[in-house]
Symmetry: C3
C-alpha cells in the first residue's frame, strides 16, 4: 500500500476528530459536529482542487475518506474524554496529517505545472484551510492566525521536500524526511513555546 495514501487516511481521521472536539466545545448537536468534522477534514483539499480545477474534488472519488471521517466523528462522540487524554497521540497524528496534506498539495500543483512558490501555497492551503473553516464556522478567530508555529512548519517542510527532490533523493525518502522535519519543527516550537511575533505597526 502507498505510504502517502496511508498517512493521508490517518490525517483525515485525525482532522475529523479535531473538528468534532471543537464542535463539542461549542455545544453543537450531532449533525453540527459531523458537519464540522467533515469540513475540517476535507476543506483544505477541496479548496485546493477547486482552485486547480481538478474536479470532482479528491474526497468525492474515494469513499474511504467518507467512512474515515464518520468513524472519527463517532469515536470522538463515544469516547470523547478518553480521546482528549490522548492529547500527545492526537498532536502527533495531527502533525503527520498536516505534513502529508502539505506534500500532497505541493506534488499535485507541481504536476499541474503550477510555479513553485504557488505550489508551496497549495500545499499549505491543503494543510491549514480545513482548520480555518472549522474555526470560522464556530465563530472564532482562526487558531492558526495567532497561535503556535504551524503554517511555518508546513512551509519549511515543503522547502525540505523540494530541496531533497532537487538533490535527486528518491520519492519515498523525500516524503519521510519531509514528514519528519515538520514533526521536528512543530515539536521544538511547542516544547520551547516558540511563536511568531504578533504584528505591531511601526513608525
Amino acid at each position: 500500500m502507498n505510504l502517502l495514501l496511508l498517512f493521508d487516511y490517518i490525517g483525515t481521521f485525525v482532522f475529523a476528530i479535531s473538528g468534532t472536539l471543537t464542535a463539542a466545545n461549542k455545544r453543537l448537536d450531532f449533525f453540527g459536529a459531523t458537519m464540522i468534522g467533515f469540513v475540517t477534514a476535507v476543506g483544505g483539499g477541496s479548496l485546493r482542487d477547486m482552485m486547480l480545477g481538478d474536479t470532482p474534488v479528491a474526497w468525492m472519488r474515494d469513499l474511504n475518506y467518507f467512512w474515515l471521517i464518520i468513524a472519527g466523528v463517532l469515536v470522538t462522540i463515544a469516547f470523547g474524554k478518553v480521546v482528549m487524554t490522548l492529547k500527545k497521540t492526537l498532536f502527533l497524528f495531527d502533525t503527520i496529517g498536516i505534513a502529508v496534506f502539505t506534500i500532497i498539495g505541493l506534488k499535485k500543483a507541481l504536476m499541474m505545472g503550477i510555479n513553485i512558490p504557488l505550489a508551496v501555497m497549495m500545499g499549505l492551503a491543503s494543510a491549514v484551510v480545513g482548520g480555518v473553516i472549522r474555526d470560522t464556522l464556530c465563530n472564532e478567530l482562526p487558531l492558526i492566525f495567532h497561535r503556535e508555529i504551524y503554517a511555518t512548519a508546513c512551509i519549511a517542510g515543503a522547502l525540505v521536500y523540494l530541496l531533497l527532490n532537487f538533490l535527486g533523493m528518491n520519492e519515498h525518502a523525500c516524503e519521510i524526511a519531509t514528514v519528519g522535519s515538520i514533526i521536528t519543527i512543530r515539536l521544538i516550537a511547542v516544547r520551547f513555546d516558540i511563536a511568531l511575533p504578533k504584528i505591531e505597526l511601526k513608525e
Copy 2:
C-alpha cells in the same frame, strides 16, 4: 413545465427572503441585504457545482434565478413585517426549498457517477450550505448546527428518494414522495419540539 424546476424556483425565492430577513435583523444596508439574499439562495448549489466541477455554476446559466432573488429581496424590504406574519407559509416553502435542493444535488451527483453516500452529501450541501454562509457572514453560529431537525430531514428524504427509485417507482412520484417526507419529518420535529442531542464528551 418541469415540476422540479418550479419547486427549485420557489425554493430560490424563499431562500432569498430568509437571507434578507436575517440581514435586516443585523441592520445591514440595502446592498448587504441583497448580497446575503444571493448567497443564501445560491451558496449551496454553487459549492456543489464547484466541487463536482460542473461550471459555470447552475444559477449563472439561467437568468430566472437572478430575477427571483432580486424579487425576494425587494418583496422583503417592501413588505417586511407582512412577510414575517406569514411565518407558516415561509416555513412550508422553505421546507419545499430544502427538499428540492436535496433532490437536485443528489440526482446531479449520481448522474456524474459519484458514490451514493457522497451523492447524499451533495444533496445535503445543496440544501444547507446557503444558510450556513448566511449565518457565518452575519457573524453568527450557523443555526443549523445547533437547532432543530433540518439536515436530518434532508438526509432522510434523500434515503426515501433512493429507496423508491431502487424499487422502480417513476421519477415524478419519487420526487413528490421525497418532498412530502421531508415536510412531514420537519413538521413533526417542530410540532413536538424534537432536536438532536447536544454533544457532551463522555468518559
Copy 3:
C-alpha cells in the same frame, strides 16, 4: 504594457496592504497577516474563476501576483504607521483596485457567454469578495454590508462600461471612463457622507 494589467497589479498590491492592516488590528501573527493579505487580494478573483470554471484560478498562472502580495504584506509590516498616514493614497489606489477588478470580472464573464446581469455580478464579486472573506476570517461583520457606498460604485461603473461599450467607444477609453466614474462616485459618497439606508422592516 497592458493598462488593465497594470491597474490589476496595483489593486492586488493595495488589497494585500488592506488585508495586512486589518490583521494587525486583530493582533494576528506574521503568518496570519500574510494569509489575510493573500485572501483579501485573491479571494474575489478566485471565487469568480471557480464559479465560472476558469481554472487554475488567475493568480496561479502569473507569479507576479504572488510577489506583489508578499511585497504589500512586508511593506505594511515594515512601515505600518507610515502606510496608515497615506490614507488618501491608499483610498485612491483601493478604489482603482475595485474598479479594475470589476472590469476584469465583467469582461471575463461576458467573454464566457454569461448573461449581462450575471456578468455584472461576477464583476462585483471580483471586487468585493476578498474584503468580505477578510472581515469574516477576522470575525467581524463585513464592512461592505453596512458602511459606505462601495458595491454601488462598482455596479454603477459596470453599467457605465456596458453603456460606453454598447455605444461603440474603444476599449481603452471605456476602461478609463469606468475607473473614473467609480472613483468619482466613491469620492462624492465619502465627501458628502452618503450611505445606503439601513433596512428596517416595514408594515
